[in-house]
Amino acid sequence: MSAVPDRAATFEAPDDFDAINRIYREKNWSDGLPVVPPTAARVDAMLKHTQRARHDMVACIAPGFGAATVERIAINAVLAGCDPEYLPVLIAATEAVADPAFNLQGIQATTNPVAVWLVVNGPIARKLQVNATFNCIGQGAWANATLGRALRLILQNIGGALPGAMDRATHGQPGKYTFCCAENEEHHPWQPLHVERGFALTDSTVTVVGAEGTMNMNTHAKDADELARVIAETMMHPPSNEYVHGGEPWFILGSEHADIFHRAGWDKARVKRELWQRSKMAVRQLSVKEIDRARASRTKEFGELSADTLLPISPSPDDIQLIVAGGPGTHSVYVPCFGNSRAATRPVRGA
């Protein structure tokens, strides 16, 4: 690890919004959008919302292995426009991205467009008004917009993942500006994500997901069997990191679709099993190079792969992850993932 000072550097700047933003632009300390100047007063106000000490180390952020101290997280939160109350969510998210299973090194430095998607659960989501309904992964909610943006700035400014330098994304994706929502726990036929992951309903958590993008699925299907079929067919795409490596596909089920499964008597585990089984793809549908990559990654799992082998998208049905969110409508979202990554969940403390 590099020798990183514990304290963030301070510098004098003119008391002028445009001048300060010019500095941030020249130094590549922004994501390309104007930032809120992180004055000492603003950072101090942010720090009042955690019981952790200012210079506590939260995590080392790959690929530059910068020290994400509480203070540095707070600075990036100010830059992104976060309300001070949001800080505990960002501390938890920073802990989560450093979970070895998340593979932050791979996510930050890959050519893949993978973005880090934040899913907020529990009372904190309601308290901070993290949107879980209409347009929940779109624009409009301050908490969604600024929390996702702040994490991106943490990954870039502390982790050193600048586009074209250590962030090697070929195209990237809009979700790399911000990607955050809550789960709709009020209109949910099953256990919400954090309860499924061992937390109490009254706990607050944040989950980080290595999300390759979003694929909307608009289907008016009203039958669980038919709905599962069309979702499974959406999952099957040959140039997929998930089939090559054995991934962790995610879904944001709209409430109407979740209710269709629920009314048919399907619990979450049944939905996962059905999607896993029905989305198996014949190895021959992959390109020759992808078949070679899949052999390197998945032969231990399946033995020698032949052209006729039916390859599941993930090692087991349990790897498929479902949340319920969004407003009324016949839409759900498939969130294909990076492949070599597993989501990580951390409790939000002291909120």
């Binding site: 590099s2 690929p63 910068g66 430095a109 250590m166 090697r168």
Partner: protein
């Protein structure tokens, strides 16, 4: 490995050289020798790959002897 006193060389394709150098600096080994191969190499013929490999092996040998001299 370099920090343990063993000769170490990393192989990077040209597209990843910036990342390799930056990460070596971040990990406290800015002088890490890096053998560079052309990018991309996935679509090349076996003969082309062999030539790249031979050149790379020679570069590694040179970098290792330079690093240990």
């Amino acid at each position: 490995m370099a920090k343990q006193g063993k000769a170490a060389v990393t192989v990077c394709s040209t597209a990843f050289l910036t990342l390799g150098r930056a990460q070596a600096r971040a990990l406290g080994n800015a002088e890490l020798p890096i053998a560079v191969i052309p990018h991309p190499f996935g679509g090349r013929t076996r003969d082309e790959v062999r030539k790249i490999a031979e050149q790379c092996a020679a570069d590694i040998a040179k970098l290792v002897s330079g690093a240990s001299s």
